[in-house]
C-alpha cells in the first residue's frame, strides 16, 4: 500500500459513514459484552431496520467507563465529539434509543459523566470506542498506518529511533526504561536475525489496559510493532498474550490476517524491501512470564523461568538473537508519536515522564473503568475528580498501584503528581497501570497477605530467596492476621523483606516485599493493633472476630 491508497481507503470509509444520517455505536469490549452488549447490538439493528431510518449500528471498542455498561454512543457521524453517551442500555431500551435519534436524547439513559472525561488526553485510547476493532479500514480512516508508511518511505531506521528517543517515551510495562535507548541497543546489536516481542502477558491482577487496547484497537499495536521492527532491523515479531483473554486473541488473529491482506505485513511492505510478520503465542497462566527472560523461555516452549541478566535480551534474547521486548501500551504510543512529532509528545507530562499513562481505575471507587491521563496529574484528581471518589459515604484509605510489585499510597500523598520517580519515592511503582482504591473496610495487613500469597503461588521456584522467602513471609503475615504474632515475628518479617528484595533473581522476587514494606511504612499502627491487641480495625482478620470465610470454611469437608 502507498500513502495515496491509504487516503483512498480512508475516504471510502468516511464517505460510507457520512452516508448515514445517524450512527449508533455499541461497545463490544469485554466489560460491556459481559452484560450482553452483543444482543443489545442485534436488538438495535433490528429496531433500526424496522424504523426505516437511515442509521448505522456498529460495534466499537471500549469507551472507558466499564462499570456503567453497556455503553452506547449515538449521534451524527460527522460530529463524533457532540454525540450522546448512554449508560446501562438494555435490549428493552433499543426502540426508545432508535426513536430518539435526531430528537431529544433519552434522559433516563444519559450518562452525566463530564468530570470523568475531563482532563483525560487520549493517545493510546484515541480510537477506542470510535472504531470497529474488527475492521482494519476503520483504523486506516483515523490516520492508521500513515506513520508506518511515512517511516518506511521517508525515514531511515536511525531517524525513527531518534524520534522515539526525543519524545522521551518510557516503557509502559512498569520499569520505565527509556524506549529509544532500548531500541538503539537492539539496532546496534550484531546479528542477522532479530526479533520484536510484544509483552501482552498482563499478569498484574487489577490491570486491564492491555486487554482493552488489544480488543479495541489491535491494529495500533501491529503498526507500532512493525515500526519497531523497521527501526531495529527485525523481520519477525511475536505477540505473547494471555490465554485468559480469548476475545483479545481472536481479534488480534483476525487483525493480523487483515493487515497481511492489505500488504501491511509480509514481504515488501509498501513496495519497499522491508519484510515483517507477526505470530501470536499464547501464555498459559504464569505471572512470572511478564518478566522478559521468562517470557522468552516460554516462547521457546520451556517453563517460564527467568535467567540472570546480563546478557540482556537486547543482545541475546529469543533463540540467542537480539530481541526487543516492549509492552502493548508502549507500542501503542509509537504510531502517534511519529505522526504528531516527538516535540508534541514531549510537551505532555512532567520533566522526566513524558506523555500519558492509561490506568485501570477499580476497587472502591464510583467510576470504575479505563482512564488515560497526562503524567503529572495528581492522584487526588484521578481518584476524586475523574473517579468520582469513594462510594457509599465510606472514607478513602489507600490506593494500590503497581500490582503485586507495587505498594499502597495513603491519603497524605494524594497530591503527588504521577511520574515514575514520584511513585517509587513513596514506596510504590507505576507498574502496568492498575489503580485499586481501598476504603476503611479493607485491612492493610490482610491486603499485604493477599499479595504475598499471590507472589508465593506465582514464584517459579528457581531461586531460593523468592521460593522460600515468600512462603515464610506469607506465614508470618497469616500469623499477624490471626493475632498470634509477637514483636519478634514482625522484626523477622522486616528482615526477610530485606533479604528477598536484595537477593532474588528476577523482578518478581525483588519486588515481592513491596506491598509489605509500603503498608508497614504508612500503616504500621494496623500491624501493631493486630500484634498487641489482637484487633483488626476493618474487621476482616481472624483476630477479634472470626472472618466470614473462615466460619464458612468450618462447614467444609474437602
Amino acid at each position: 500500500m502507498t500513502s495515496e491508497e491509504l487516503v483512498q481507503v480512508a475516504e471510502t470509509v468516511t464517505a460510507e459513514r457520512q452516508a448515514a444520517d445517524f450512527e449508533v455505536n455499541v461497545c463490544v469490549a469485554l466489560g460491556c459484552l459481559s452484560q450482553h452488549s452483543d444482543k443489545l447490538k442485534d436488538a438495535l439493528c433490528a429496531e433500526a431496520v424496522a424504523s426505516g431510518r437511515n442509521c448505522r449500528v456498529r460495534g466499537t471498542g471500549c469507551m472507558g467507563l466499564c462499570a456503567a455498561g453497556p455503553l452506547v454512543r449515538v449521534g451524527k457521524p460527522a460530529e463524533a465529539a457532540a454525540q450522546t453517551l448512554y449508560a446501562g442500555v438494555h435490549e428493552a431500551d433499543a426502540r426508545e434509543v432508535i426513536e430518539s435519534l435526531g430528537n431529544k436524547p433519552v434522559e433516563r439513559l444519559e450518562a452525566h459523566l463530564d468530570t470523568y472525561f475531563h482532563g483525560q488526553i487520549p493517545i493510546v485510547l484515541e480510537n477506542s470506542g470510535y472504531i470497529d476493532p474488527e475492521k482494519i479500514d476503520e483504523y486506516i480512516s483515523r490516520d492508521g498506518y500513515q506513520a508506518l508508511i511515512h517511516a518506511l518511505t521517508e525515514m531511515d531506521p536511525q531517524s525513527v529511533i531518534d524520534q522515539i528517543a526525543k519524545s522521551g517515551l518510557r516503557g509502559r510495562g512498569g520499569g520505565g526504561y527509556p524506549t529509544g535507548l532500548k531500541w538503539s541497543t537492539v539496532a546496534k546489536a550484531v546479528g542477522t536475525q532479530k526479533y520484536v516481542i510484544c509483552n501482552a502477558d498482563e499478569g498484574d491482577p487489577g490491570a486491564f489496559m492491555d486487554r482493552s487496547v488489544l480488543e479495541s484497537d489491535p491494529q495500533r499495536v501491529i503498526e507500532g510493532m512493525a515500526i519497531a521492527g523497521y527501526a531495529v532491523g527485525a523481520s519477525k515479531g511475536y505477540i505473547y498474550v494471555r490465554a485468559e483473554y480469548p476475545l483479545a486473541v481472536t481479534r488480534m488473529t483476525s487483525s493480523l490476517q487483515q493487515a497481511r491482506r492489505r500488504g501491511l505485513l509480509g514481504n515488501n511492505i509498501c513496495g519497499t524491501t522491508f519484510a515483517f510478520d507477526i505470530e501470536i503465542r499464547l501464555g498459559a497462566g504464569a505471572f512470572v512470564c511478564g518478566e522478559e527472560t521468562a517470557l522468552i523461555a516460554s516462547i521457546e516452549g520451556m517453563r517460564g523461568q527467568p535467567r540472570p541478566r546480563p546478557p540482556y535480551p537486547a543482545v541475546s534474547g529469543l533463540w540467542g538473537a537480539p530481541t526487543l521486548i516492549n509492552n502493548v501500551e508502549t507500542y501503542a504510543n509509537v504510531p502517534t508519536i511519529l505522526r504528531k512529532g516527538a516535540e508534541w509528545f514531549a510537551g505532555i507530562g512532567t520533566e522526566k515522564s513524558k506523555g500519558t499513562k492509561v490506568f485501570a481505575l477499580t476497587g472502591k471507587i464510583t467510576n470504575t473503568g479505563l482512564v488515560e491521563i497526562p503524567m503529572g496529574m495528581t492522584l487526588r484528581e484521578i481518584i476524586f475528580s475523574i473517579g468520582g471518589g469513594v462510594p457509599n459515604g465510606r472514607k478513602f484509605k489507600a490506593v494500590q498501584t503497581g500490582g503485586p510489585s507495587g505498594g499502597c499510597i495513603p491519603e497524605e500523598h494524594l497530591d503527588l503528581p504521577i511520574s515514575y520517580e514520584a511513585l517509587i519515592e513513596v514506596g510504590s511503582m507505576m507498574g502496568s497501570g492498575g489503580m485499586i482504591v481501598m476504603d476503611d473496610t479493607s485491612c492493610m495487613v490482610n491486603v499485604a497477605r493477599f499479595f504475598m500469597e499471590f507472589c508465593m503461588t506465582e514464584s517459579c521456584g528457581k531461586c531460593i530467596p523468592c521460593r522460600a522467602g515468600t512462603a515464610q513471609m506469607y506465614q508470618l503475615l497469616t500469623k499477624i492476621c490471626d493475632g498470634r504474632a509477637t514483636h519478634a515475628d514482625l522484626e523477622l518479617l522486616i528482615d526477610l523483606c530485606d533479604v528477598v528484595k536484595n537477593t532474588s533473581l528476577c523482578g518478581l522476587g525483588m519486588t515481592a516485599p513491596n506491598p509489605v514494606l509500603s503498608t508497614l511504612r504508612y500503616f504500621k499502627h494496623e500491624y501493631m493493633e493486630h500484634i498487641e491487641h489482637q484487633h483488626c480495625r476493618a474487621g476482616v482478620c481472624a483476630c477479634g472476630r472470626k472472618p466470614a470465610n473462615e466460619l464458612a470454611l468450618a462447614g467444609v469437608t474437602a
Binding site: A207, L282, A284, A286, I436
Partner: protein, 166 residues
C-alpha cells in the same frame, strides 16, 4: 516432516488429528510444545499421560520437559474438569470487592475446595488470577461466560440450577 520416526496416533479419536495439525503447522519444531499442549487442553479438556507422551515424542522433546511445562503453567490441567465450571476471579479488584466471600460460599455449597470437582463430576470450582474485567468486579466465569458484579446469592442460584440438571 522431521527425519525421526513419528509415533502413531494414540487412538482413532479425531481430536488427535487436530493435535497433529497444530504440530504440523509449526513444522514439528520443539518450541511448539506449549502451543500443542494448548490444543490438547482445548480439544480434550485436560492433559493425560498418553497425550503428554504422544506430544513429547512427536516434537522430540524430553519427557521431563513436557511434564515440566504441563505442570508449570496454571492453564493446563492434568485432571478432567466437571460438566460445568464455576471460576471465581481472585484478582485484586475482585478481592477488594469481596471475592473471598464468593469463594467461601461456593466451597460451602459444593463441599469441595477450590481446584476440585464434585464427586459426581458435575461441577468444578476453579480460581482465576484476574480475567481483566476489573471494572465489573467481583466477576465469575460460569462455563466460560463472564458475569460481573456478582452477589453470592446469584452465584449460588446458578450452582443450584447446575446441580438440578444432573
Amino acid at each position: 516432516m522431521p527425519t525421526y520416526p513419528m509415533p502413531p496416533l494414540p487412538s482413532d479419536d479425531k481430536r488427535w488429528k487436530i493435535v497433529n495439525g497444530t504440530m504440523r503447522r509449526h513444522g514439528f519444531a520443539r518450541n511448539a510444545l506449549i502451543e500443542t499442549l494448548h490444543t490438547v487442553q482445548s480439544s480434550f479438556g485436560f492433559l493425560d499421560d498418553v497425550a503428554i507422551r504422544f506430544v513429547a515424542k512427536s516434537l522430540h522433546v524430553p519427557l521431563s520437559q513436557a511434564f515440566g511445562v504441563a505442570t508449570f503453567y496454571n492453564h493446563f490441567s492434568l485432571k478432567p474438569a466437571g460438566k460445568h465450571t464455576c471460576t471465581i476471579c481472585l484478582g485484586t479488584a475482585c478481592y477488594i470487592k469481596g471475592a473471598d466471600n464468593l469463594m467461601a460460599a461456593a466451597e460451602k455449597r459444593l463441599k469441595i475446595k477450590a481446584g476440585h470437582t464434585t464427586p459426581d463430576g458435575n461441577i468444578s470450582l476453579m480460581t482465576a488470577r484476574c480475567v481483566g474485567a476489573c471494572g465489573r468486579a467481583p466477576v465469575i466465569l460460569e462455563d466460560n461466560e463472564l458475569v460481573g458484579l456478582v452477589e453470592p446469592q446469584v452465584m449460588l442460584e446458578q450452582l443450584e440450577r447446575w446441580a438440578a440438571h444432573d
